[in-house]
Symmetry: D2
Subunit: 284 residues, 4 copies
């Protein structure tokens, strides 16, 4: 049984749904999932569809070709199609904090995540033993002001040689430059330790403490050139009180960070996220 | 512009989505919303669809007829179709508590609810001034052990004479019998003041206090013959602590009750709820 | 039985707790509640205490005097003492939105709020019928650019003549000037429709929509001269998705606004809030 | 600097707070934290207090003695006193699930937990490599119907030889008998994968699925002889929908389980939990 996942967006217009579902039926496909959204402010149509094909002779490459000819031009579609059983390959960038790393690897180990982790990369060596204990290759690529470009070129080389599909910054603590962002647009997932857009930048828990907020949060988003301003994938919050010291806020925040980041990874890996105009549409 | 809302469920089988969407297209309909769910345990397919028809000559009654002939038999569909612009008519049953009543009427007044409230009914006269201040007819139908059947017959008469589509028990405090339930299956919405199935029955806040729970909840569900066991539409919870007295729990609970009930009303009124085998599918 | 509520803050120093509790015991007081907090960053001690005095001859005015002589100077205390049974008097400022008003008045009516509402004031006449239905005097004080000062002087006159203790801006929609703030420092409670400090200023739901956040919030805070930057009393949030239009965000936000504002009112009216350096300490 | 933590409960009666605080002052103690609660239904007074003693000659054993003589009898106190800097020693019982184990050990490693973990024990060998990677002794004590008593005697021996203060069942999956419970009353912490009292017993996620709840939860509680009925320490919940399969509920539940259990451990280890009549008082 062959199963594809199709993601579409285009200008909203009549008959898209019927045309696409009809095309699937005419190709002996059986749609097993369909969801759609119309952004009425921007007049954009979004759709996510899963379709099964019984035939032994089904080829996703051929099918992409006929889909392109039959529909893509006609509706001016932007689209992506995946073989549903093919796991995406994720590179994990870390620094010295281990809570997100343990959380992700624990899930990975238990089979909860539909993805491969070919390698872990860090600008420090501290977390290598954790990578080792999970039997995942670990690369130490130090970054300093003067070596940043060189380090990113090294990263790119690794990403390409391992055929990486997307990158997760699990408290990586370094600003990623346009060099990587351009190669992996909406494919670099970050976890920011505040409910963005509050407390952009460094030390958000210190800012939260200073402002006396009663709720702290964490935000997972795609990296764009503008700092902490990329499309938001997932957010969560927790109630706090005056009795929380900055250290308490940081500890509470770690729980949010790891859950929010792992949820964002799952949404991305399961091809449930679309991005348009710096916002996400999430078919969950 | 004519718009219909269609709700379908049937045994899961290939080509339902394409067949339905195709039927809409062949009848010059433009699908503007589609969502579906497959219950894999029970092998049941659910779908909700909104479709627009441009033609002046469109008649929903005729369209229902052709839909029935073309598809309902073939796929053994259970289905409902609504003229999207037609507001459902809701009867509001209350007793002496006013928090849910104020919440619902406040929303109703502000235009937040897509429904009509032809009348309010109570077994007590206490809340009549509120009904009056919102200019809604109020019926006082006392209920005692000996007059219960008589009271319910009176209720049925009112419900029918006002062409009521569904009933909301806004802390009505009376057990509704099969007489009404059979006439309004999955059309009587109750608010229970606990996170069901914990604390079924009367005095759930007292039970919650006794058990020392750290979270209380409220549950909105359809009434069935078995007490507090009907299909759950909406639930929410709030954190509490040892410092909460029963009175504090009740006060906190009122906030949950009113929000949860109003959300359930909105889901039902917007035809977003399907029921199968005592569980809901909610297309929100 | 006489009961007092005492709120204290001062520089942190040894023996404050023992000295205060000892003073109460020596005056035949029985402490029935005590809570304290030390802000270690600023080295400030906060305490809230409830104490009962059995004697017929107890006079809170006399007791305030002896407390002042015995302790206030010695520890350089800032303190407030209340007769616990005396309800604070709250003025309610509204504009055209009615959801917070209904919520507050419903609670007031049911006895949930420990306070008096001597009058409701608005810059519009729209909500007068609601005030009437709850039998609360309503004052219409229009505000325009040119009449703002005049209007605030009229407001001050009303506040004083009714011996108002604190003011609640229940979606009042007008910026309150220093004229009122100086007379009622940390005594004017506002509800802002975002999780501050995100989306300061007007139209936060529009900003939230534009940024594509997955969580919206509401914040109740004391008014200070700087817009939306006063001490935060209470916050809450709700999850939203890409499918929410601005109208949906506004509707969801109304639920947050009314619950958050009412909670803040309860905390303030029960003398559970202290303010220091633009942050609150909340003894709940 | 010597610091003690004192936990008291007794029948509510006048002058307890003043008597205790006075006693501390008379012994040159400086109270740095005090919190109290009165259960008005049962007329029980609870207090938690932290006090610092400057003197080099301070001995907690001597101080316990004089506290006992001066106050314990007079007020019929039940009390516990700890040297605040002494970390409690926690035994970790696991089975085959690793998510709670990773979560706890990750926090332990990062210094977030104020406790020692002298050993990990399991009825299976599967998680030994994780214990090894954290350099914590691991004991494999198989349990079968016929060997249960023998296994528990072996457990008791280990618990005593390691001077264990409390036990955490991190998804241990075995029912613990009175043999252990009697030795460690209110000192065995369990994590149950539902919001108790809903879904007591095995397979709560299956029951939740069947009932169609919109919220799932997790509950951490002390083990008592009655299954899943012990005093509740901490609970949390997450929203779910009809689209969640049982597998999805289990995955979502794992996130709740690990956070809720770790929070309960922190509260217990920091001596913030008191138990009376099968309910907890939590001074957080």
């Amino acid at each position: 049984m062959n199963k594809i996942t199709l993601l579409i967006h285009c200008e909203d217009q009549p008959n898209i749904i019927a045309s696409v579902t009809n095309f699937m039926a005419n190709n002996d496909g059986n749609i097993v999932y369909i969801d759609q959204h119309v952004d009425r402010e921007q007049n954009i149509f979004f759709m996510r569809l899963e379709c099964e094909f019984d035939s032994n002779s089904f080829s996703i490459e051929n099918f992409k070709g006929s889909f392109n000819i039959a529909l893509a031009d006609k509706f001016q579609l932007k689209w992506r199609m995946y073989a549903a059983e093919k796991k995406p390959r994720m590179a994990l960038f870390v620094s010295k904090y281990d809570h997100c790393l343990y959380d992700i690897l624990g899930r990975y180990n238990s089979g909860e995540l539909f993805l491969e982790i070919p390698f872990i990369l860090s600008n420090h060596n501290d977390l290598k033993p954790i990578a080792d204990s999970f039997n995942i290759p670990f690369y130490h690529v130090p970054v300093s002001k003067t070596t940043k470009r060189e380090a990113e070129l090294k990263q790119l080389e690794l990403l390409e040689s391992y055929s990486i599909d997307f990158i997760v910054l699990a408290r990586y603590m370094q600003i990623v430059s346009g060099l990587l962002i351009d190669k992996y647009p909406n494919k670099i997932i970050n976890i920011h330790h505040s409910f963005l857009p509050a407390f952009v930048g460094a030390k958000p828990y210190h800012s939260a403490y200073k402002r006396g907020v009663k709720i702290i949060g964490a935000t997972s988003h795609y990296i764009t050139e503008e700092l902490d301003a990329g499309p938001i994938i997932e957010q969560d919050v927790a109630h706090v009180s005056h009795s929380y010291s900055i250290k308490d806020l940081i500890a509470k925040g770690r729980d949010l960070e790891k859950i929010v980041l792992s949820n964002a990874i799952k949404l991305h890996a399961n091809r449930k996220v679309m991005v348009f105009n710096n916002k996400t549409v999430i078919f969950s």
